[in-house]
Amino acid sequence: GAGVSQSPRYKVAKRGQDVALRCDPISGHVSLFWYQQALGQGPEFLTYFQNEAQLDKSGLPSDRFFAERPEGSVSTLKIQRTQQEDSAVYLCASSKGTGRDANTGELFFGEGSRLTVL
């Protein structure tokens, strides 16, 4: 498909379980973002990649959260030892260029992965 693809769409995990969320950005997009969106809230920034380089991970809430994009394309967000407060929709977005480029900075979002931790 031509859009950003995320999998799984829904994930139910028991507390303490590890989860991995995948993002397939639009082909050729340089920038990739992960956001966490809790119910009734806006997307909260987690981390940002430019190609394979993780340029900003200031939004990762704890060292249980880890993200990678080893070949500058597909990205995985891993959450270890999940807690109930990790329950949220995790959004991935990509853009052709960097965010401040008016021509290529538009973010294209995936449908999100809804994580429920019991």
Partner: protein, 109 residues
């Protein structure tokens, strides 16, 4: 700290009435602001950005640096405008984009 504030969680107006969705920001540098929209059962998508100074679907937004605001306006609301609207800010030093908490716009027939 950099912040985007959308004071209204819900805004309900009648069809044909004017709409104004409020957005205030806190940022010490040169801001670049956007409005993103999420229609029912669709993905979050860009509506407009201040640097383009364009009108999209009848919506406009003007950056007011004095009031640190970027309110979204439309003179005559339509039912298809019902959606969640998010104001977003990009830092000048990087490509980090932060979002407000969103306003749900409901247009009554």
């Amino acid at each position: 700290a950099q912040r985007v504030t959308q004071p209204e969680k819900l805004l309900s107006v009648f069809k044909g009435a004017p709409v104004e969705l409020k957005c205030n920001y806190s940022y010490s540098g040169s801001p670049e602001l956007f409005w993103y929209v999420q229609y029912s059962r669709q993905r979050l998508q860009l509506l407009l950005r201040h640097i383009s100074r364009e009108s999209i679907k009848g919506f406009t937004a003007d950056l007011n640096k004095g009031e640190t605001s970027f309110h979204l306006k439309k003179p005559f609301a339509q039912e298809e405008d019902s959606a969640m609207y998010y104001c977003a800010l990009i830092y000048s030093s990087a490509s980090k984009i932060i979002f407000g908490s969103g306003t749900r716009l409901s247009i009554r027939p």
